[in-house]
């Protein structure tokens, strides 16, 4: 792929360099971004920093190495959510790395992150940034786009999908996540690490994100004890006891919402026998509790491999 001035553009390297701008703790760009996002998102500066770190630390040359340039450049429209400001970054990054253009329709409530992301790309590669457009809503918004990724409520996603007709479409509607603390994670010597993992999972986005555990299942007889030990004044998951794998699976299957991710803490031998059943429940990501909020770029959210989808051979969608 070539820029207008004829120089060779390596989108993956440029995207990784722009991610480094976001991650540079002493950099002026990050400082400015945090200040602006603290206003637009309603999240405190530490929470904004967590969101930034979780989103950009996975944007590395290595993570983008598997992305092959598409044969034909297309336009991907992303309808951004207002609550989890970084949620749309993986498809945007992967689309750009594939050689596509990205149109971002920002939320009225959070107009800052799309602008700043484009700015960060422009700082390292102006020609690559030319392929990012921020566009306001209009009725004909779908017509010029070749494919759509949308975030929102189930109803809104369904409406968008209908409006898009036969266009390739992915809708990320309502999903929730769950944490599991096996009994080994509750042993005194493991408790500090468990607490830290809980904080990493629970604090970002104040439990509003689809990767935030809204339930925390504890393998213990005494949930009230752990409630006293773990709970904080900040939003905290609902704690629930379980004693065995089958009981846990039964409780998980009774959660009415789609499950996006399950984070666990304890001995890996405890989660292993449950993995096949969890996959059957529709869970596409099972990871250590402390890693829930920073999925790899390659994560098939909703079971959709974005890199593959961006070749536009299928019309996959989740609603």
């Amino acid at each position: 792929m070539f820029a207008s001035d004829g120089t060779r553009v390596k989108p993956a390297a440029a995207l990784a360099r722009s991610a480094a701008l976001w991650l540079d703790r002493k950099g002026a760009f990050r400082k400015k971004a945090i200040e602006a996002l603290t206003v637009s998102t309603g999240f405190s500066a530490p929470l904004v920093e967590m969101g930034i770190d979780n989103a950009f630390r996975v944007v590395t040359p290595k993570a983008l190495a598997s992305v092959k340039p598409a044969r034909e450049s297309r336009i991907l429209l992303i309808v951004c959510p207002s609550n989890v400001f970084t949620a749309w970054l993986p498809p945007a990054v992967l689309a750009l790395a594939s050689g596509h253009s990205v149109w971002l329709k920002p939320s009225v409530h959070e107009p800052v992150f799309p602008k700043l992301w484009r700015e960060s790309v422009e700082m390292v590669d102006p020609s690559l940034a030319e392929r990012i457009k921020e566009i306001p809503w209009r009725k004909s918004i779908y017509e010029a786009a070749d494919a759509v990724v949308a975030y929102g409520s189930d109803e809104a996603v369904a409406q968008l999908k209908e409006a898009c007709g036969n266009k390739p479409f992915i809708g990320f509607g309502h999903q929730v996540s769950v944490g599991i603390l096996f009994c080994e994670a509750l042993e005194p010597k493991r408790l500090p690490a468990t607490r830290e993992a809980i904080a990493h999972a629970v604090e970002p986005f104040r439990l509003q994100g689809c990767l935030s555990p809204i339930h925390l299942f504890i393998q213990s007889d005494d949930v009230s004890l752990w409630r006293r030990r773990f709970e904080s004044p900040a939003p905290f998951p609902r704690l629930e006891a379980f004693h065995s794998g089958p009981e846990l699976l039964q409780k998980l299957s009774s959660i009415p919402d789609r499950l996006a991710c399950i984070g666990w803490e304890g001995n890996p031998r405890s989660i292993k026998p449950l993995q096949a059943s969890l996959t059957r429940l529709g869970v596409h990501r099972i990871c250590p509790l402390g890693e829930m909020q920073s999925p790899p770029l390659s994560w098939a959210n909703g079971g959709i491999d974005l890199v593959e989808w961006l070749k536009f051979r299928t019309r996959s969608s989740i609603g």
Binding site: K32, A33, E35, A36, T38, V39, S40, T41, G42, F43, S44, A45, L47, V48, V79, P81, S82, N83, V84, A87, S107, V108, H109, E110, P111, V112, K115, L116, P136, W137, R138, A150, Y151, G152, S153, D154, E155, A156, V157, Q159, L160, F172, G173, H174, Q175, V176, R206, L207, Q208, G209, C210, S212, I214, P233, A234, P235, F236, D257, A260
Partner: protein
């Protein structure tokens, strides 16, 4: 040249002034001295040199008051800090006030116009905590201010977070002249529950009035405005025409008022409201939208606030239609703007 603060104070007192010019001047002032607001504006490539009308002044989402210190001054020097009510697990909004001049002038002006248009000097029975008990409640500050400036006497009937219904009942029983009851909708409902249980009703003197605010939000109770006003009439003998409803928020220094069963609210001359199409972000007039208020009395915080309340502009005010999103946002599912 007359300083900005003086011009705004004069506008608040006399309604004399050019709203458009003052709004632009205040935007430039807040952009210069309010660092988080400036960063927010800069991220959208907006500055005082690019804004030529009050409608184009960037509005901060109301949730920004939860996360940022939106002030033109060091907040340690604030004369007052107003916080929204705390609910479990929720971060309260924080509104820092450099001085209380603008807040007090704004609230007294509107209160007198709506609640005391007859210049009556009435005893105030305030069904809310006193400022000493709730020092960060803008409502308690407001009630204290209007009590000091407008009432013949006044007393509070909420203690340690609970309505002191027996004492309020006793005060109402001994009230031989018209009085003004001020409080939250929820507090009045608690008192009516007590009256129902004790089989109490009152027939307050003609000229008595009731001011309520807050609606039934977060209470889990389903009481419509007409139902509430029927209970006011039944338990207190105050007719609908003498009931005034306030719509306000701790992030604003000014308030909106409505009367009776209507959902129509009006603001003072120093506040202007736009309705924003949630899909496009554009101002609309022919259909409901998200309410965006520009309050000149918010001198040392941010004047332009984008709320999540839905409304429809009408005449000099708007009809309040509720919240844009009732459910707790979760799972990347905040309703999208086009729906």
């Amino acid at each position: 040249m007359e300083p900005l603060h003086q011009k705004i104070e004069r506008f608040l007192r006399t309604a004399e002034g050019d709203f458009d010019a003052l709004a632009l001047e205040l935007f430039a002032y807040q952009y210069k001295l309010n660092a988080p607001y400036r960063a927010y504006c800069e991220s959208q490539n907006v500055s005082p040199t690019s804004v030529h009308s009050w409608q184009a002044i960037p509005a901060v989402p109301v949730r920004a008051f939860k996360s940022a210190e939106l002030a033109t001054f060091p907040t340690a020097r604030a004369a007052a800090l107003f916080e929204s009510s705390r609910t479990t697990g929720q971060t309260p909004s924080r509104h820092f006030l450099k001085d209380l001049r603008f807040y007090e002038t704004a609230c007294v002006k509107s209160f007198v116009q709506w609640v005391l248009p007859d210049d009556a000097k009435l005893p105030f029975l305030i069904v809310a905590p006193a400022p000493g008990e709730a020092p960060r409640s803008s409502l308690s500050w407001m009630f204290d201010t209007v009590k000091r400036k407008c009432a013949s006497s006044g007393d509070y009937f909420v203690l340690r977070g609970k309505v002191d219904s027996p004492r309020l009942a006793s005060a109402l029983k001994s009230l031989e002249r018209p009085g003004a009851l001020l409080g939250t909708t929820l507090a009045f409902m608690a008192f009516f529950d007590y009256c129902r249980e004790k089989k109490l009703t009152f027939a307050l003197a003609p000229g008595s009035r009731l001011f309520d605010t807050g609606g039934m939000k977060s209470s889990g109770r389903e009481v419509t405005r007409p139902d509430f006003l029927d209970q006011v009439d039944a338990f207190l003998g105050i007719p609908e025409t003498q009931c005034i409803n306030e719509y306000g928020m701790c992030e604003m220094s000014s308030q909106f008022y409505g009367r009776g069963k209507s959902n129509f609210f009006e603001g003072p001359p120093w506040v202007r409201t736009l309705t924003i199409d949630p899909a496009t972000g554009e101002a609309v007039t022919d259909k409901p939208g998200l309410l965006r208020h520009l309050d000149l009395a918010n001198v040392d915080s941010v004047m332009a606030i984008q709320t999540e309340d839905l409304g429809q502009l009408e005449g000099k005010g708007f009809r309040l239609l509720g919240r844009a999103s009732g459910a707790e946002p979760r799972g990347c599912s905040r309703p999208m703007e086009h729906a």
